[in-house]
């Protein structure tokens, strides 16, 4: 097993309107894995399933080689978790929270905790409830990193924070990964942020995984093409057609957004009597939006 997280055919239902269906996810060991999706797409639910906070209806979850939720206590000892909302006791001070957490984790790194307190400029005597949003986020990162886990699960850890705090947190995460070779599973809807740090990306919408790929493949494989003279039906293209629409009323050809694109694939169009006038690079955010659009159009057609 080479995956830090391995999910197979996971099914979960929450109420009448939301379900995670047939979810397959593979987070390679040592990867910084970005989990993208709009609000309400199922990211937090998936994370809670990974942590054993929820029980799936069917399917299999393996975390660090152990089955979840059967081995939740052993697995959680190796996971640093930062939830979407601050979840710690507001009446305890920073120091008390650190001491509390240290008691539960045998691999707790006091030196790292002390170093991060300094680096994040946290006051040990301040009550958690009186910290600013940025300080709370920093403390939760500090607790997650000092546990010395092999896997960090971060649920929108920098959402709503100012750029300075975001940079501090991301920098601490990168330092940790480079020192320990840990795996990071980080969910966010801040595409640019994930683009900077992740080497794998998964996109989720409406409880389903739309795509899962190495960052380079996703970034460099998603293109906007300006295609002239394309037939209405195309057969077995070597790339994925995400969207296809007329450009400027049709006279200037068509705009296609494609995935899994590789240089040299323009020859496919020549074979079907069309031509590619332009190949435009998309950044991750544009690619993400097009993926969502394609997925939602496909779903509404069904």
């Amino acid at each position: 097993m080479n995956d830090a997280i391995h999910i197979e055919r996971l099914h979960y239902r929450a109420g009448k309107n939301f379900a995670i269906k047939e979810l397959d996810l593979h987070v390679p060991t040592g990867a910084i894995y970005g989990f993208l999706g709009p609000n309400g797409s199922g990211k937090t639910t998936t994370i809670r399933l990974i942590l054993g906070l929820l029980r799936p209806l069917s399917g299999r979850i393996t975390v660090l080689g152990l089955p979840m939720p059967e081995q939740h206590a052993r697995i959680l000892g190796q996971i640093g978790y930062v939830p979407e909302q601050p979840h710690l006791d507001t009446t305890l001070t920073v120091r008390e929270l650190i001491d509390f957490q240290a008691a539960f984790y045998p691999r707790w790194d006091r030196a790292r905790a002390a170093e991060l307190i300094k680096r994040f400029e946290l006051d040990g005597e301040h009550l958690f409830g009186r910290l600013s949003k940025g300080q709370k986020a920093k403390l939760m990162i500090l607790l997650a990193l000092s546990q010395c886990g092999d896997l960090l699960v971060l649920d929108e850890p920098t959402d709503g924070l100012d750029p300075v705090v975001r940079r501090d947190i991301l920098s601490a995460l990168i330092t940790y990964v480079s020192e320990r070779g840990a795996t990071i599973f980080i969910s966010s809807h801040l595409v640019h942020e994930l683009e900077r740090v992740c080497d794998w990306i998964a996109v989720m919408d409406d409880g389903r995984l739309i795509t899962e790929a190495p960052m380079e493949k996703l970034k460099h494989g998603t293109k906007r093409l300006v295609v002239m003279g394309a037939p209405a039906e195309i057969v077995n293209p070597p790339f994925r057609v995400l969207t296809r629409e007329s450009a400027n009323g049709g006279g200037a050809g068509e705009n296609w957004v494609v995935g899994d694109w590789e240089p040299g694939m323009t020859s496919y169009f020549e074979g079907v009597g069309a031509s590619v006038r332009e190949v435009i690079d998309l950044d991750l955010e544009e690619g993400f939006v097009e993926l969502l659009r394609s997925f939602r159009e496909g779903r509404s057609r069904r």
Partner: protein, 221 residues
């Protein structure tokens, strides 16, 4: 496990120290007050009924204090976890029953202070008083009964407080249904006394809450 217990105990102490301190002061003061003035050296055997009445009236405060302490300590034990929607507790690397046991045990340890308060207060009150002939003091028995009552109250409220809003709703719905049935039975002139039956089952020996019923006497014949 010891380090975990210390951590849980410290956090629980921080949330409930006011309850513990006030409860301990009250537990210490009640036995002293119950014998104050009623057990002076110049009183004779004729004052024994007066003393017993005073002790008995003060005695009603022990089960009330035990219930209040059990309730407040149980609420305090779970309040921060409820506020954080239990996410922190559920992501700690230990079996959930162990975590519940740690919280439960920490509450028990903290409740030792008011129990000790009753024992010390009772012992001092008895030492300071001159009892009329024929009367005996029972400070240890009173403290043990208080310990048992506070433990029962804490255990019951801890279990209820650990539940979700749904559990609380079910309990309230059952109570409401009982009231409704009783009201309907009274209107229909049926010979049905649900609350009397419940009281008998719960409060009379060997009912689970029997420890709260009856006389709580520091001094008796």
């Amino acid at each position: 496990m010891r380090a975990m217990f210390r951590a849980v105990l410290h956090s629980q102490w921080k949330w409930s120290r006011l309850i513990v301190v006030l409860g301990t002061v009250a537990a210490f003061a009640i036995p002293l007050l119950s014998l104050q003035g009623a057990a002076r050296a110049d009183r004779g055997a004729l004052q024994a009924p007066e003393l017993l009445r005073a002790v008995q009236s003060w005695g009603t405060l022990y089960p009330l204090l035990a219930t209040a302490l059990g309730l407040l300590m149980a609420i305090a034990a779970w309040a921060p976890d409820h506020r954080g929607r239990h996410i922190h507790a559920l992501t700690l690397p230990l079996a959930r029953w162990r975590y519940v046991l740690l919280r439960f045990g920490a509450g028990f340890v903290l409740l030792a202070a008011p129990i000790a308060g009753v024992l010390i207060g009772s012992s001092l009150a008895v030492l300071a008083a001159t009892l009329p002939p024929g009367l005996q003091a029972y400070p240890i028995a009173l403290a043990m009964r208080f310990a048992f009552a506070v433990s029962v109250a804490y255990a019951v409220f801890f279990a209820v407080s650990a539940g979700t809003a749904r559990t609380a709703g079910i309990i309230l719905a059952v109570i409401a249904a009982l009231i409704l049935v009783q009201v309907v039975a009274s209107m229909a002139n049926l010979n049905l006394d649900l609350f009397g039956a419940a009281q008998t089952a719960l409060l009379l020996g060997p009912g689970p809450l029997a420890v709260f019923a009856g006389r709580w006497m520091l001094v008796d014949v």
